[in-house]
Symmetry: C2
Subunit: 219 residues, 2 copies
DNA sequence: GCCCTTATTGATCGTTCGCTCAATAGAAGG
DNA sequence: CCTTCTATTGAGCGAACGATCAATAAGGGC
């Protein structure tokens, strides 16, 4: 993609942001501004006309890749009482995983985690509060268990969902971060994982809630 | 840990390796040799007396953290016909996860993956061939299914084990890489995940093998 | 076709990187 | 106590880093 000089500021900014996402995803957030500029076919000082510092450019990448790609429909989907909770969970995960099983998304996410930025923890906090909490509340209701107001959602309940979630994320990580050339159809693999994990989930959830209710019993 | 100058070469090398593991785990493999030396209380040129290049030091870290911590007992454990396969799998994962749920292990692993080094893919290849393949072979036998010689192990079968494995690894990643302060007892969380996932595993495995045997059927 | 705005560049600053080497200093043997 | 060996250091090399700024050139309005 040659540049064609003197773009409009909007077009140039877009080009820089998209190029930066691809570049820093590939080499990590310690990548160099000169190399990024070289790949874009522009000079390095031009980057600093559009972003005051490298850190500001990276902050913009966060907005671009994570905040912008958060789908408000997910929050509605998991509250849609027309479907059973397990089906809502399945639909959410299929759509969510398809969105994040992306070279840039996954690599910048773990790269940010390694560098100690709070983006991953804040993002997973969002998943926890806006997706998993409503789902667990629905599962409580479907099983005739106390509402979260009567008995707060426990850490173990969240782990139930994060466990399945993690298995699905790991499929993408193996390919995008560990470099295992997954020739497999990862969508199908995840669908099969959900088929295996979901049927027993409600029963396990009831056990976990009952254990939490009756003090500190174990299993 | 102040230095006390003029150590024996063996003691100094150990100190450097251990310090390097801790340092590069914390800041990533792009960390700087000067900062590492400062933390060790020595000068930077001394590092280069013990390791010719920074790359050689990092190579040594790989040996130290991954190859050296590989437990040959795992390979025996998963072949121990005295126990049912699911129990072997459980015992392996409990021990394995306890070993790798370690700040340095997990962070250097994903850091190496991001930098494109082949360590993670080679390591996971080891898990696949030396741990999961024997387990799947045993599961085939327990279920009266064809041996791997008669019908090769399929990618879907490996995904069955990698799915559970990934859910367990993700527990550590959330804490060690994403920086979510897991106040929870991660060992107990993983034990509960295994309790939830293992009971249905053999039946699912039979379905997967049957589907693979009868051509390209789906579910 | 000319002018004026501004996107873009070339040159460069101070700093820090991985790495080298001659000089220094601490322990062990006689 | 003095010599010898070598672990350790201080000074510094060339290269590359993020960032700055005056000079240049491309396009739009008249």
């Amino acid at each position: 993609m040659p540049t064609g000089r003197r773009l409009s500021p909007e077009a140039r900014e877009r080009q820089i942001v998209e190029g930066a996402v691809a570049y820093f995803a590939e080499v990590g957030l310690d990548g160099h501004t000169r190399e990024l500029a070289r790949r874009l076919g522009i000079t390095q000082p031009l980057l600093f006309r559009y972003f005051p510092t490298k850190a500001a450019l990276i902050e913009r990448i966060y907005e671009e890749v994570y905040l912008k790609r958060w789908d408000a429909g997910w929050e509605r989907m998991v509250r849609d009482t027309a479907l059973p909770c397990l089906e809502r969970f399945r639909l959410f995960e299929i759509d969510y995983q398809r969105r994040i099983d992306d070279y840039s998304w996954l690599r910048i996410f773990v790269s940010a985690g390694l560098k100690g930025f709070d983006l991953p923890s804040r993002y997973l906090g969002l998943v926890r509060e806006r997706i998993f909490a409503p789902l667990l509340e629905g599962m409580r209701a479907e099983s005739g268990l106390p509402s979260p107001e009567a008995q707060p959602l426990s850490a173990d309940e969240f782990e139930l969902l994060f466990g399945i979630h993690g298995a699905l994320v790991y499929v993408g990580l193996r390919s995008r971060v560990y470099g295992i050339d997954g020739t497999a159809d990862r969508d199908a693999v995840r669908a099969a994982m959900l088929d295996a994990a979901l049927p027993g989930l409600l029963a396990t959830h009831r056990r976990v809630v009952a254990a939490a209710a009756s003090g500190t019993e174990r299993r």
